[in-house]
């Protein structure tokens, strides 16, 4: 066996960072009582790993090694500063008194990642900053990777993160899992960030590629961490929803890079491992009778996933689930989806009437899916000219290349 090369060690340290940074940072924030020194100490510990692991070998428990090294680095940093600011000396002494991190069996330590997730998704932070901060602090992505994922510049993301961290520090945002009546609302903000990440990866809002699998994978990973730490029904429902959507990824895009609708997808290309897990989670969430909108959306996705052919789809059940979802969280987008389900169950005319009612209220007029859904129903009703006008409107509103190609193909088919 060859000795691990320097490149292997670098790759290994990077993999440990991706897998463990969130957990290590969370523990250090608890030990040091402050966000910034904890992050410095963690980075210093990873630098030390790069320097020492090639010679000393990778420790048996890398996380425990990193936490303990980071703690000593933090004490060092305070000491060094204390040479100039003598008044600070007692802080280092206090820190030295902190209970030592067990070298082994650190799994007994409380998992602090949940606190970190709640801090990163705090409602006091700007919504776009919450996603960037969570990806960096909890998932261990670099600023550069986050910028690529959101198709924006690195300094823009860096600024968001700098501002968010300054806000956490200056406003002393609590580092804790909220309890009691505060929990559902705060959990809602956390789940919204996870779902935003997933959607950004599932259906990229702009750019040449229709999906960005890495972001969806991070969202699912984060969802699983939440599920492990806080198995509330809506967490279960959200993970189910993401798995069921993700199961269709390979079938959603044709070999030529075009969008393939659910009806035309090759169902044998769906990921049936994800589907089985997703359906089991939906059933678990529904059984609690405390479920919310994520669980209902997952239940709808589960009905689709359970149908071997498009014709076998239980549209009656899907219509009922949409009605329940609409009653729980009224939104014109959900109304639009319900209209599409009604069109399948009762015919295109019934669906079209529901969509026209939404548009008549003045809602969703600039939402391309309204126009493409209308166009599709008009086409099925044989109203060709109106269908053409609706597709043209949809095409003007779309910003993603594969979606444009899809609409243009439909326009050509109308003749």
């Amino acid at each position: 066996m060859a000795e691990p090369t320097l490149v292997d060690i670098h790759t290994g340290v990077d993999a440990v960072f991706r897998a463990e940074a969130g957990r290590i940072l969370a523990t250090l924030i608890r030990l040091l009582g402050d966000f910034d020194p904890a992050e410095d100490a963690m980075h210093d510990a990873f630098s030390a790993a790069l320097q020492r692991w090639p010679a000393e070998g990778v420790p048996a428990n890398p996380r425990a090694w990193l936490v303990s090294t980071a703690r000593f680095k933090a004490i060092d940093a305070i000491r060094r500063r204390a040479r100039f600011e003598a008044a600070q000396a007692d802080i280092a002494d206090t820190l030295h008194g902190v209970e030592p991190v067990a070298a082994a069996g650190d799994d007994e330590l409380p998992d602090d990642r949940l606190k970190l997730i709640f801090t990163c998704c705090h409602p006091a932070l700007a919504p776009e900053a919450r996603a960037a901060l969570t990806l960096r602090e909890v998932c261990g992505l670099t600023t550069e990777e986050i910028a690529r994922a959101f198709l924006t510049t690195v300094p823009t993301i860096a600024q968001r993160i700098v501002r968010a961290k300054a806000k956490i520090r200056d406003e002393r945002l609590p580092y804790q899992v909220p309890a009691g009546p505060e929990l559902p609302e705060r959990l809602g903000a956390v789940l919204a960030v996870v779902y935003l990440l997933f959607n950004e990866g599932y259906s990229a809002s702009s750019g040449p590629s229709l999906t960005r699998a890495d972001l969806s994978a991070e969202a699912i990973r984060l969802g699983r961490v939440l599920l492990e730490l806080l198995p509330e029904p809506e967490v279960v429902g959200l993970v189910a929803l993401m798995l069921l959507h993700e199961s269709r990824r390979a079938a959603r895009i044709s070999a030529g890079g075009e969008l393939v609708l659910l009806e035309q997808q090759d169902r044998s290309a769906w990921n049936h491992t994800f589907i089985r897990e997703g359906i089991a989670l939906v059933e678990r969430a529904l059984a609690t009778r405390r479920f919310g909108p994520y669980t209902l959306q997952a239940a709808i996705a589960a009905v689709h996933a359970g149908a071997g052919t498009p014709e076998a789809t239980d549209w009656r059940q899907i219509c009922a689930l949409y009605a329940a979802l609409l009653a729980m969280s009224p939104s014109p987008v959900i109304e639009l989806n319900r209209a599409a389900a009604v069109a399948m169950h009762e015919g295109p005319a019934a669906g079209l009437a529901l969509i026209d009612a939404i548009v008549a209220r003045g809602e969703l007029r600039d939402y391309h899916l309204v126009h493409s859904a209308r166009a599709d129903l008009l086409r099925r009703l044989g109203r060709r000219e109106e269908a053409r006008a609706a597709y043209t409107q949809a095409n003007a509103l779309v910003k993603s290349a594969p979606e444009n190609a899809f609409i243009e193909k439909r326009l050509r088919e109308l003749g």
Binding site: D44, F46, K73, R80, T143, V154, P155
Partner: protein
Amino acid sequence: MKYICLGYADPTLFASASEAEMNSMMDSCFVYDDQLRANGHFKGGEALQPPNTAMTLRYTNGKVVATDGPFAETKEQLGGIMILEARDLNHAVELISKHPGTKFGPWEIRPAADLGEMMQQSEARRHKGGKPRG
């Protein structure tokens, strides 16, 4: 990842500081540099002598002309460069924002560009038609 950090300073600030102030400023900088070094972040760097010691070479009308001083007359002049090893841009920002040198003037942080591929392409261009290598 490597970041090149350019530290700017207003030279008149140094002229007006007392000796004790200067010493304290410099000491705090060196202490922080040592800390960066100890943690593997400081990959190299040099302080620069004042701008009036500089020569500028410029290609003008087909030949290289040497002039005194730096390119532009601005209040803040480049005082030193540092090659910093950091995980990402936010990590570099954190490390440099604690540098006492930020009190003297702005710092510019730029990721080092990897020209490896460009150099390979250039090499291929230069040896095209000539004797193939390797």
